[in-house]
Amino acid sequence: MGMEKEVLKIEHIHKKFDDLTVLEDVSLTVHEGEIIVIVGPSGCGKSTFLRCLNGLEEINEGHIYIDEEPVNPAGKNITKIRERIGMVFQSYDLFPHKTILENVCLAPVKVQKRKKDEVKEEALKLLERVGLSAKVNSFPRQLSGGQKQRVAIVRALIMHPEVLLFDEVTAALDPEMVREVLDVMLDLAKQKRTMLIVTHEMAFARAVADRVIFLDGGHIVEDADPKQFFDSPKTDRAKKFLSTFEFEEK
């Protein structure tokens, strides 16, 4: 990994909501093509961490750089920076008043000022790739959760981001729909996309991650390769966390 370019550099960030400290002195470097899965108990700051990376949350201390450019939510170039960091949310958040194709094409045309025809062509290709060619003229309400989430992924991809952030993207889905979304993400992993994934899908995390970050109480408690993390976690907190996913046989 050492040879790869550093895409994201997170240096000693702190995040507080009023008196509540959510992130405390978190540092992380993400290299090009790296897939980092972030796990941890609810309320450990995983989602907040991702939201800080594209400036949806303001950090109280520390620095975040994408390609050496600082991420500052109040800065003039924050929209330019967000174009380079794709994000997919738990609740899909497609635009309900726009068709699937419009949802996907809106930002490239409006924000990146790309040509409509070129964008549409790419949108159709991407939607086909995730198996949604038949839905291009539907509205979000006509789609299942899994389909909506696949559209949301395409909507992020069409911006050609350098990094993709996934915030518990399968958490709101019925079990049989989880797989179809994870398959799309596996496909992205094969393309060596740089991704930060917050998830509770441990089997998926193990399969896809280059590195697993275990976040607890606003700290990075473990930063390890997946095999090591899942087979022999170093800390008791990680052991305890992983044990909540296991069931003893009767």
Binding site: P96, H97, K110
Partner: protein, 218 residues
């Protein structure tokens, strides 16, 4: 009722209707423009300007249109501005309507989930794009019934225009009654013409409401 009288009044009422509709719609267009800008100031909590917006809304919602018209019609010339009666009517209706529209649209804006804003921001949209493409269209869809009610209310408010000598429907009816004492005929036509003016708005309103709802809620 004398049909001969009705027939002879018709052209006058027709002219009055055209004037009322013209001033009414220009005023309402102005009201929409003011309402959208004002609600945006409130929604984004723009410093200083959102306070100005609040003062404006309270001032114009809590004073009668008649009083506002008097202020514009008799007050502006004192300050050195010459405005035609028609211009005053449009401005008055626009300012009154703007305060109503602003509150209606703001309630619609507030009803759009924050997650919509966040996903638009995450795509690199600036505030103008976010407002114009994402938040405002959704706010409109939820506010359609209230907006249509505002439009109807404003068109009816044109009945006070006669106070600044605009020959609207109300003026025409009063004038004819004063001249010829055919009260029944004049009032009958007055009612009919208000219905002619407003019924299409109601019908179009429910049509737009259905369309807008379908787009978002199915």
């Amino acid at each position: 009722m004398d049909t001969e009288v009705l027939r002879s009044y018709l052209p006058l009422f027709w002219e009055a209707l055209i004037l009322t509709v013209r001033i009414g719609w220009l005023g309402i267009a102005l009201a929409f423009a003011i309402g959208i800008i004002t609600s945006a100031l409130l929604h984004f909590k723009v410093p200083v300007l959102s306070a100005v917006a609040k003062v404006y809304i309270e001032l114009f919602r809590n004073t009668p249109l008649l009083v506002q018209l008097f202020f514009i019609y008799y007050g502006l010339p004192v300050l050195g501005f010459q405005v035609s009666a028609e211009g005053c009517g449009i401005a008055g209706l626009g300012l009154l309507g703007g305060s109503y529209m602003a509150e209606t649209i703001r309630s619609g804006l507030d009803a759009v989930p924050l997650s919509q804003t966040e996903s638009a921001l995450a795509l690199g949209m600036n505030k103008r794009q976010l407002f114009g493409s994402i938040v405002l269209p959704q706010a409109f869809s939820t506010s359609v019934p209230a907006l249509v009610a505002n439009v109807i209310f404003l068109l009816k408010e044109t009945s006070v225009f006669s106070a600044i000598s605009l020959m609207d429907l109300m003026f025409t009816a009063k004038d004819l009654i004063g001249l010829y004492y055919d009260t029944t005929e004049a009032l009958f036509l007055l009612v009919i013409f208000y219905v002619i003016m407003l019924l299409p708005v109601s019908i179009a309103g429910s049509f737009i409401e259905k369309k807008a709802r379908f787009r978002i809620f199915g």
